[in-house]
Symmetry: C2
């Protein structure tokens, strides 16, 4: 006989899951034992649940297949929810397994009893609670089929403890893979005609993964028509550097975005949503395109974007155009670390094949631009906006790609949310280099306060945006988690420290004092 | 004119709120500005939302009045949910304010859009979303009245950003305070008769706050009748030490609990729920009383427990009985730190008036028992079971009681969930002493795994319960957050370090190597 936990673990492995990020408790002990018996699945302990869910997000982005997450009851799920939110917005497939009290125990309102399904629904596309041990195998297989499709990427499976410990002989039925969303072929002639208006038209690309092929097709269409080409402001994974054409991101800030999109008569959406402001501001629009622009929806999010762009290129007769690497600007290596010098420092240090996880917030604009001139790399960004995403995502990306160095560049405020990710980097000896941009403030908030009409920071409110008094010592925080750390305050030293850390196995943290 | 944010802040202050724990973002800038203008409210930045919600819980327990919490959208709420769960189970009144996108922005599915109300309902007794700026004042006053009553202790107010920045002239209507839940007077004669059966009867007390008066009344009833007297396994705040009678807690573990309750013919519940196992285990009961025991429900949770016990004492003719302080056992100061020596070390170091926040998990049993012999103090425990509660609760307790030293004793695994609380201790110069019980493992899980029938840890699963490789360095983690730290490995040194830290202003962390 096989327990429900065993059949769950076996079905996950049969469906290709080889990695599980876990923070289990008593109600997950049968699941943990069974996962331990399933030799095809590697287990990674995370000291906080937001690290586990973020790591699964990063794993999915780089491996393009799901990892499992194992969490303890409602509070464990709650701690993982912010990064599940981000994973869902990035359309990262993952299966999030949450232990639940035994079915017969739920009526008694024990201390840890909570509305797990209610929590899960707010951050999951699919919530499954098997109601018998014999349903476990098939529920698992159906969930894995669902998250491989375009509609239900983040699934939460709630496993009552008695179903995990009971025996079953039932195995999974086969589930057909779900098709990608179709493009809209009737829109193709209109899209092609619109883009031929040149600068009065825009091609807006919203693929969660901008592959090299997507970048080349988009670049070719732009070159053939003169249209503006934008990706969404944040992209889950973007191939860049080397001779890959650098695509322009739609600006993040509402004023820059409306300016970048001004004068457009037509916008062709390929996997993109209608551009929307990150936040609402008084007397500023929520929707960013000119109100009289025509929107042509060629392919919905998670359609086959490469195929849609190929069809568009074919209709336009657009053929690949070589893209010259723009190179990296030069500067004084003794200069202080600023948003501008940071860009050069990172770009010049980036080795071929690097994975960059970007949570640089106010300091990132130049870095993204400069790195177009770096060696080939993948760039990961946060589509959900919940901060504390980057170090956990770096953990998962490094586990998915053990042969590629990972660079995580994060604001100090952001890093403080999920700093326990450092410990998982040390435990698994991951080649992750973390750069902490230590400006000792939530710098973005001082900007946002006046922009949104709430005045300027005062003696009473400035301390709420400041990480001074005391300034976190990130070298000690790294060392406390078992990660070697150093501190630099000049651009050249930062670049050398990044290059050295990425060439050296194991994790390292660099506090870049700004 | 006054903005919606201003009227919210003013109404909170009018209702007695003087403390707000905050981690705001763009959608909370108007709220932050208004709170900054309201001189009656002090603002405390927390670097992670679970610190803010836990601090509000700790504040409520010690101040017996609510603090406010200010969080950023759905993901900010998500990060605060685990400690909201704990606060709710502890019946700690608090008002949790969550910023939301402007009403007209919600349809556009911006990156940070989430089902905030859906999240909030899972951890709140009351969720309020004002639908116009003119509704803000009254919604706030009604919420404050509700959380002062017995039914809706944890309230979440969701504030759309446009309602915060619009102007209003509307102020709050008065709201009558809600009455406590009544006791059940018809049960009084039955309860008194039952307890006179002596050892075959139990008095079960479930007050979130066991005051000195409750302890003396319960002790008197026990002495007069010979009945067993238990508190619930965890109590939000318990007066102990000095000449306060030490009450016995119902044991946490199902086997010890069923043994402690075996042979009971009657159980009189005063503010307590029917005893239930923390978790379900195969072949063990969920309900802990003998199946044929008669349950007499004298007063529901959050009734006036002191009045109910006084009525019971009067009916029984029970009068106060002096309780001798049991003293503290002595031991070798050079002994290693174990669960047993920890108890003595803490008890002998505890100054008069201390507040102890207990998250000692597997190491806490002796400590609780020994501290009955210490000087008078208050003991705080976790009624929700979600770990990572103690350092945040210690922050709030210290802010509520600036003249009382706070001791937080926590397992290392637990401390890792919300270690950012250390920074808030440093920022506010709180007299909190944190003892990290560094056994470098989730020790409880190894016990639980076999107890629940999931076998013993294996080479594959033991690393999931181990915090070795690398062992966190808690002195560095403290110093990284601006808190002085030290490390001790002998019981006598631990006791001296605790006494010294509690007598010295400001926070300190002691890593107790076990």
């Amino acid at each position: 006989m096989t327990t429900g936990a065993d059949i769950l673990a076996r079905t996950l492995a049969d469906q290709g899951v080889d990695t599980c990020f876990a923070n289990p408790g008593t109600t997950e002990m049968h699941l943990l034992s069974a996962l331990g018996r399933e030799s095809r699945i590697a287990l990674h302990l995370c000291l906080f649940e937001g690290v586990a869910t973020g790591a699964a997000d990063g794993f999915a982005r780089m491996a393009e297949r799901p990892a499992a997450v194992l969490l303890h009851l409602g509070p464990g799920l709650a701690n993982g929810m912010a990064n599940l939110h981000n994973a869902r917005k990035a359309a990262s497939p993952l299966v999030n397994i949450v232990g639940e009290h035994a079915t017969y125990h739920l009526d008694h309102d024990a201390p840890l009893t909570a509305d797990i399904a209610g929590m899960a629904r707010t951050v999951s596309d699919l919530v499954v609670t098997p109601t018998s041990v014999d349903a476990m195998a098939d529920a698992t297989a159906a969930t894995m089929a669902a998250i491989a499709g375009p509609d239900q990427r983040v699934a939460t499976m709630i496993v009552p403890n008695d179903l995990a410990w009971q025996d079953t002989e039932r195995t999974a039925k086969p589930h057909a893979p779900l098709p990608a969303r179709p493009m809209n072929p009737t829109a193709l002639p209109r899209a092609a005609a619109a883009l031929q208006k040149g600068d009065a038209a825009a091609l807006m690309i919203g693929a969660p993964y901008i592959t090299e092929k997507i970048a080349r097709l988009a670049h070719a269409i732009g070159a053939a028509t003169g249209c503006r080409v934008f990706t969404e402001p944040t992209v889950a994974r973007m191939a860049r550097g080397g001779d890959i054409p650098a695509l322009r991101r739609q600006p993040f800030h509402v004023d820059f975005a409306t300016e970048a999109l001004s004068g457009l008569a037509d916008a062709v959406l390929v996997g993109a949503k209608t551009p929307v402001a990150f936040f609402a501001y008084p007397n500023r629009p929520s929707l960013l395109l000119p109100t009289d622009a025509t929107i042509i929806d060629l392919a919905p999010p998670l359609a086959d974007i490469e195929a849609a762009l190929q069809a568009l290129a074919d209709a336009l007769g657009a053929t690949p155009v070589e893209a010259a690497n723009p190179g990296i600007s030069s500067g004084d290596p003794t200069a202080a670390i600023t948003a501008e010098t940071l860009g050069r420092a990172v770009a010049s240090a980036l080795p071929e094949g690097a994975i960059v996880v970007d949570e640089s917030i106010t300091n990132g604009l130049h870095m993204f631009a400069e790195c177009a001139g770096a060696a080939r790399h993948d760039w990961l960004n946060n589509r959900g906006g919940s901060i504390g995403y980057s170090m956990p995502v770096a953990v998962g990306a490094a586990i998915a790609c053990p042969d590629r160095p990972v660079l995580c560049v994060t604001g100090d405020g952001s890093a403080a949310y999920t700093l326990q990710a450092l410990w998982s980097m040390a435990r698994a000896r991951l080649n992750v280099t973390v750069v902490i941009l230590a400006n000792r403030s939530y710098r973005i908030l001082a900007n946002e306060m006046s922009k949104i009409g709430a005045g300027s920071p005062t003696d009473a409110t400035l301390p709420l945006m400041s990480l001074e008094d005391p300034a976190p010592d990130w070298v000690k925080l790294a060392e406390g988690h078992g990660v070697a750390g150093c501190r630099v305050s000049e651009a050249g030293a930062l670049s050398r420290a990044i290059a050295d850390a990425m060439a050296t196995p194991g994790p390292r943290l660099i506090e870049a004092t700004m």
